[in-house]
Symmetry: C2
Subunit: 167 residues, 2 copies
DNA sequence: TATATATTTCAATAATTTCTGAAACTTTAA
DNA sequence: TTAAAGTTTCAGAAATTATTGAAATATATA
């Protein structure tokens, strides 16, 4: 496999993986491209490599920046902007975990708490509802707390704690 | 909030969460409905509760069964089938983790391994590609191994190991 | 200030995914 | 068998999501 074939396969694979996890293809592909690039790229270069439109590139770069995993760079004497991504996989994973927690998990936890707090009326279905939403709430809380610890832990936690985790 | 409002909100919230994680809304909602239900439901009841068509219900129930989180039950003397879901959240989480690993993570790990194995040619971009895909491969491997341990561990691992994990 | 360069926005369009409904199929029981 | 009840399949329709491209906006330089 040549470099270009490998590069292409990587970008395609990353885009497809993103899709199955609710992340739009272009967004995942832009990040993939930056991730293996030796230098920062311009929007023009990204559009060209991935064969996407200016608008698409612009919108997805903005989203990636909102996620905190892509950054703008200016080169002195140059008018246009250059883009890079977080290159450290641990940091990348942490940042993504942090954002997904903030955007998607935390709000759901809040709802689950509310819901499991409806008052008892003694009926079986009501009891079941409270029981089930409460246990879901507890699981989500625990999982999110774990994610949070991971997010706040700056050293490469994962390799260190894996065998400690389930003893 | 009345029981019915709460129930509705739960189903909606669960459907919406599914959507952001690449799971189709009806599928998530059917699972939610079964999860809080005191008894097994027929397809008819599911269609009626969620206002979805027969085809939709049938297809998504099949998928949920393929994921191993919804089961068919037959009641003696009754012709139609009844559906239930896994009621234990830990087991539910385990099963979902197991399937996502098998379907989505493992295949990507395989590709990453292949890609990080392309031969060196000394060029900077080639070196960078190998370095980056390799570190992604290693992260994915470690995370997946962790997931696997979780999956194979039958007791409520999460509450037990959380504080052990990051010390 | 005017001009060129670069970026963002957004309405229109395209692509993809989901859903419907009816026909085909299966199963049970009379 | 035949009929009735239940389920699956799938082509077409609907809904949702992603993408384009051009106008509007912003920014730097002469």
């Amino acid at each position: 496999m040549t470099y270009n074939e490998a590069k292409d396969k990587f970008i395609q694979t990353w885009g497809a993986l993103g899709t199955t996890w609710g992340i739009n293809k272009a967004m995942a592909q832009i990040q993939a491209l930056l991730f293996i690039s030796t230098e920062a790229l311009t929007m023009e270069e990204i559009m060209d490599e991935l064969q996407i439109s200016r608008g698409n590139a612009s919108m997805n770069l903005r989203q990636l920046m909102d996620w905190g995993i892509v950054f703008k760079e200016s080169k002195r004497g140059e008018r246009k902007e250059y883009f890079t991504t977080e290159k450290d996989v641990q940091e990348l994973a942490r940042q993504i975990a942090k954002e997904r927690s903030r955007r998607e998990i935390k709000p759901v936890i809040k709802v689950l708490k509310e819901l499991s707090d409806i008052k008892k009326d003694g009926s079986a279905k009501n009891d079941e509802f409270i029981k089930q939403t409460k246990s879901l709430y507890e699981l989500a809380e625990t999982a999110d707390t774990m994610l949070e610890k991971m997010v706040n832990h700056k050293q490469n936690w994962i390799t260190k704690s894996i065998f400690k985790m389930i003893k």
